[in-house]
């Protein structure tokens, strides 16, 4: 079953756009792939290495802004911007890591929130980058892979998002089984013990955040090209950082498939409640969402993967 399940799932994902042509279900799946990829990336730093970051929107925003500014101001293809964004995110992550990795537990989480707020404030006040008004990605026709814009159908976006998710999963899986994956988990479980066994704790943490930041930035570029408009409120907010880790937590922290499972449950839930119950300024969808989060935290803190595992071993 396990061996058959994965190829079946992947096959279903590949033929889905051919079977369903309605835009909304496609949009929901694209969002599942995007948030799944982001949560997998977050999970590399937080789940395996134990460093709970509440500032991952920084890397997402860097990815979105780098590519968009390069397209809008320099006329480069977004693919080059995607690579540049990932590189920049890695650089910034190393800078951020310098102060924050000295902290632990709640101090670390709050320091990452502070970093996120600083970066958002800086971008809001940066006129060349559009300031608080944001930037539009210049519309280019016709649709082409080079321009990373597809106005006729969401199918190509769908496959790119799927590719992004598979890339993140492949990286996470490789890391999970590599030497560094074991180092990460050792640091998470007991930093002193890991250090005394000769693991270079600071270097391994920097490695974890670099990988995590690069993957998150790729997601940011995708988001910018998908919506074709970004502003600081949409790509740098604390709520995005929290949503990313919420997806991972719901699915199961520190597991390979947990974040994907979390995205598969949470994204449709929030998209459909938004469509059915949202609007009218009543925020009923958020009310349910908040209640649900509390329920998960109290009833099933190990995430949905905890349920899956319990069934697998009766």
């Amino acid at each position: 079953m396990r061996r058959l399940g994965l190829p079946l799932l992947l096959g279903a994902a590949l033929v889905f756009p051919a079977a369903v042509t309605l835009p909304f279900p496609r949009h929901v799946l694209i969002m599942i792939f995007l948030y799944g990829a982001l949560a997998v990336a977050w999970n590399i730093l937080a789940g395996y290495c134990g460093q709970i970051s509440l500032g991952h929107a920084v890397f997402f925003g860097i990815g979105a802004y780098t590519s968009t500014l390069l397209v809008a101001r320099a006329g480069l293809t977004p693919w080059a911007g995607m690579a540049a964004g990932a590189a920049l995110a890695v650089g910034v992550s190393q800078l951020i890591g310098f102060p924050v990795f000295r902290l632990r537990g709640h101090y670390f989480a709050i320091a990452t929130i502070a970093v996120g707020e600083i970066v958002q404030t800086l971008v809001i006040n940066w006129d060349w980058a559009g300031g608080a008004r944001g930037v539009f990605v210049p519309i280019k026709r016709p649709d082409s892979l080079l321009n990373f814009q597809f106005h006729q159908s969401k199918a190509v976006y769908y496959y790119i998002a799927l590719g992004l998710l598979l890339l993140s999963l492949a990286v996470a899986r490789r890391l999970e089984r590599s030497r560094h994956g074991y180092y990460f988990r050792a640091i998470r479980d007991d930093q002193e013990a890991a250090a005394s066994l000769g693991i270079h704790v600071a270097r391994e943490k920097r490695r974890a955040i670099a990988v995590s930041a690069a993957l998150t930035a790729l997601g940011g570029t995708f988001y910018a090209q998908y919506l074709l408009f970004i502003d600081p409120e949409s790509v740098f907010p604390l709520s995005l950082s929290i949503l990313i880790c919420l997806v991972a937590v719901l699915g199961g922290v520190g597991t390979l498939w947990g974040p994907v499972l979390g995205a598969a449950v949470l994204v449709p839930l929030s998209e459909y409640t938004r469509v059915w119950l949202g609007g009218g300024g009543k925020a009923l969808d958020l009310l349910i969402y908040g209640g649900l989060i509390m329920l998960i935290a109290t009833v099933q803190p190990a995430g949905l993967m905890g349920l899956v595992r319990r069934r697998a071993r009766p």
């Binding site: 101090y107 989480a109 320091a111 707020e117 919420l246 009543k282 989060i293 509390m294 998960i296």
Partner: protein, 273 residues
């Protein structure tokens, strides 16, 4: 402002010191306190200053209920479960407020205290001044309670070692609930004071809560007097950064200050690990 930050942060710090849980719904508690003050004014024509006991009591009840209903269930769980329990509560309360009362900005008109005072050529708003004074007073009361009353000492004992405290016959569950009630009452007072001169709307808590986290971490978690100093420091930094650099950048400067301090002292200015 610094005194108010300190009072908001003190509640957070108290709760954290007691059981190592950061209440991410703290800003929403503040928002609710402001709404309580608003409705006390609009329905019963009670001035925010006079309604302070009411807001404090209402929030204490909320904190108490939060502990018994939610926090007790995640106390033994992983840190992430605790973060998300309170974060879920935050989303729930904020959207609940939006659902019930809408997103309109509300203000309390003609409070008892209005106008401004000139002190040596510097104009100070009378409501702000009273708020700082009352916040300081509340802070003093909290400190005296913690240091000198039997219950306060029991609270501190629980914070230091909950098992030893339990062995000494202290009902730690009750102490935790009491910590939540007192911590929330601090926010209640702060919210009542803030309602005198600040807009009231469902998202108002966010910015204040962020500053409160930084204030607490700056002073050192669980150290209530240090929180006061850190709060004043944050307030001053905000004002001077707004004056000297740019008003839009003031929060960024505050957060930068925090990161700089943390680089030098990871446990905060007066914290212990």
């Amino acid at each position: 402002m610094g005194c108010l930050y300190a009072l908001i942060a003190a509640g957070l710090s108290l709760i954290f010191g007691l059981m190592e849980i950061v209440n991410f719904a703290h800003g929403e508690f503040l928002m609710l306190a402001m709404y309580v003050a608003f409705f006390a004014w609009s329905l019963a024509h009670l001035d925010p200053v006079l309604a302070l006991p009411l807001t404090a009591l209402a929030l204490a009840a909320l904190g108490w209920a939060t502990y018994w209903g939610l926090i007790r269930r995640v106390l033994g769980g992983p840190m992430l479960a605790q973060i998300f329990a309170t974060f879920g509560l935050a989303v729930f309360l904020r959207s609940g407020a939006q659902f019930l009362w809408g997103v309109d900005f509300r203000t309390i008109k003609d409070p008892l205290l209005a106008g401004r005072l000139s002190v040596g050529g510097v104009f100070l708003g009378l409501p702000q001044l009273t708020a700082s004074a009352l916040a300081l007073l509340a802070f003093l009361g909290l400190w005296l309670f913690l240091r000198h009353s039997e219950t306060g000492l029991a609270l501190q004992a629980t914070a230091q070692d909950r098992q030893a405290a339990a062995l000494m016959g202290i009902d730690t569950q009750r102490m935790f609930a009491l910590g939540w009630a007192i911590g929330s009452a601090c926010v209640g007072v702060a919210g009542g004071l803030l309602a005198m001169f600040f807009y009231i709307f469902p998202d108002v808590g966010g910015a204040f809560a962020l500053l409160a986290y930084v204030t607490v971490a700056l002073g050192g978690f669980g150290n209530v007097p240090a929180t006061l100093l850190a709060g004043v420091l944050v307030g001053l930094t905000e004002v001077f950064a707004g004056l000297l650099i740019a008003p839009a950048m003031k929060y960024a400067v505050v957060f930068l200050l925090y990161l700089a301090v943390v680089l030098w002292r990871p446990q905060g200015l007066f914290g212990r690990f």
